[in-house]
């Protein structure tokens, strides 16, 4: 019996890091967009930097999804 501990460890590491990174990025994007929404207290509202940042986050996530599709196809 030959258990490939290295492969298991790398699956663990890669999954952990990429899940947390992706969820973190996507959350930042969502937060950036949420800041564009005016609040009841008069906060929020259009904010160019936040919007650009949000789109950058989403672009990175989209790239990750594209890479995922690439992994499935190839």
């Amino acid at each position: 019996m030959n258990i490939d501990w290295a492969a298991l460890a790398s699956v663990f590491g890669v999954s952990l890091v990429s899940t947390v990174a992706l969820v973190g990025l996507f959350t930042l994007g969502i937060l950036g967009l949420a800041k564009q929404v005016p609040t009841a207290q008069g906060g929020g509202g259009p904010h160019a930097a936040a919007r650009v940042g949000a789109y950058a986050c989403f672009a990175l996530c989209a790239a990750a999804v594209a890479y995922g599709i690439y992994l499935i196809v190839v």
Binding site: M1, N2, I3, D4, A7, L8, S10, V11, F12, V14, S15, L16, S18, T19, V20, L22, V23, G24, F26, T27, L28, G29, I30, L31, L33, A34, K35, Q36, V37, P38, T39, A40, Q41, G43, G44, C61, V65, G68, I69, L71, I72, V73
Partner: protein
């Protein structure tokens, strides 16, 4: 084609039936959390998953060379053995669906193959070490890896958006989480179509090779690829609502951020594991991710009684499918009448399980209700008032992103 014998035809049909059960057994993996958080309506979710499964089946040409991944010795395997293995896998898949427990279809297939091969050629046809590395270890690793990833991701996302308290902004974030969840669920569906439909293609091809129709080492013919893809897509569209209910709202109560974290973790684990050489079960990764996300939210709880039943089902999958497979192989060994008996048992058993399931039907209308609350009274033949109530509840659920902090997927009463 003209050389296809009756036995071979039966095996091909049985393999497609297995593919179909595989589809509806595993809809939950991609779509359970998407449905329970209200990201997609139940019917839309299964339709999307079905299409992606179909696309996935055609995507990859890299066919699994061995259906069992080296667990059994496939040289000289008789066609009847494949048939017996499929019978074991199908019946176990249907039984676990009846009780609404997610369990790995691949493990059911492995179990059936092991049981049938042992009955056919003795214990020497099994590689025990491979069973441990391909089945037992992944069964423990998958939920742990996916669970820990989902747990940390859930904690992170709740921490990042803890300052958002305004109603309108919360609405905006909930919408974002749902969109992200749909993307992750799509990836899981696509990966499932590629992996699992190919498994069936591999079985049919192997059966055709053992039956002497195809030369050894052939690629699956186009009709095999198309029929396997269609069977898994139809199964997915039918939707294993019982399992969706368990995974989407039975294990824990999921809110949009948790659903997103769970589905992303599942997608990542499945893709990472299949490309780093340590294949993990889709079902077990998804269940683990759901539980991890459940624990990650402050105040979140995992219903350990349901989880325990699921773990028991995982443990039983291999031996139970193996026993049925061995029994089926014992009969098919007796000659053509044995094959006929097994075919009759398969049809009768599937029919009985389906009839039992009609006593307490679960479908797209009541999939988000807490399991166990559906009483026999409600379950009696399609009572219109209950149906209407449920539909209204569902509508409120789906159209109420205004309160993402309340659990949207849970009608208070039935």
């Amino acid at each position: 084609m003209e050389h296809i014998t009756l036995l071979l035809a039966i095996v091909v049909v049985t393999a497609l039936v297995f593919d179909f059960t595989n589809g509806f057994h595993d809809t939950a993996n991609a779509m359970a959390t998407t449905i329970s958080t209200g990201a997609l309506k139940p019917k839309t979710a299964v339709a999307m998953s079905a299409v992606l499964n179909l696309v996935g089946a055609f995507l990859s040409v890299e066919v699994a060379k061995t259906i069992s991944g080296g667990i059994i010795n496939e040289d000289g395997l008789r066609t009847e053995v494949i048939f017996a293995a499929l019978v074991g896998a199908i019946l176990w898949n249907l039984l676990t669906w009846l009780v609404g427990l997610p369990s790995s279809s691949s493990h059911a297939l492995f179990g059936g193959l092991i049981g049938a091969a042992v009955m056919s050629a003795g214990w020497s046809s099994i590689d025990g070490g491979t069973v441990v590395t391909k089945v037992l270890l992944p069964a423990i690793a998958a939920p742990l890896v996916a669970g820990v990833a989902a747990l940390l991701a859930t904690k992170l996302t709740y921490r990042l958006n803890r300052k958002v308290t305004d109603e309108a902004q919360l609405k905006s974030t909930a919408k974002g989480y749902r969109a992200g969840q749909i993307a992750s669920a799509g990836l899981v569906s696509l990966a499932h179509g590629t992996n699992d439909a190919q498994k069936t293609m591999g079985i049919i091809t192997l059966a055709l090779v053992t039956g002497g129709v195809l030369a050894p080492g052939s690629n699956p013919p186009v009709w095999v690829i198309a029929s396997a893809g269609i069977a898994i897509a139809l199964g997915t569209y039918l939707g294993g609502w019982r399992i969706i209910r368990t995974m989407g709202s039975g294990l824990t109560d999921l809110r949009p951020p948790q659903g997103f974290a769970a589905q992303t973790s599942a997608a990542t684990v499945i893709l990472a594991s299949s490309h780093l050489g340590f294949s993990l079960s889709t079902t077990q990764s998804c269940s683990g991710a759901v539980m991890g996300a459940g624990l990650g939210r402050k105040g979140g709880v995992v219903r350990w009684s349901t989880a325990t039943r699921m773990f028991v089902a995982w443990g039983l999958t291999l031996p139970a499918a193996g026993l049925i497979g061995a029994g089926a192989e014992f009969l098919t060994k007796q000659g053509p009448w044995g094959v006929a008996v097994v075919a009759v048992v398969l049809v009768a058993g599937s029919g009985a399980i389906w009839l039992l399931s009609r006593r307490k039907p679960v479908d797209h209308t009541n999939v988000n209700e807490p399991a166990g609350v559906v009483t026999t009274a409600i379950a009696s033949v399609s009572p219109p008032p209950v149906g209407t109530t449920v539909t209204t509840d569902l509508k409120t659920t789906i159209h109420a992103p205004a309160e993402p902090q309340t659990d949207p997927a849970r009608p208070a009463t039935v």
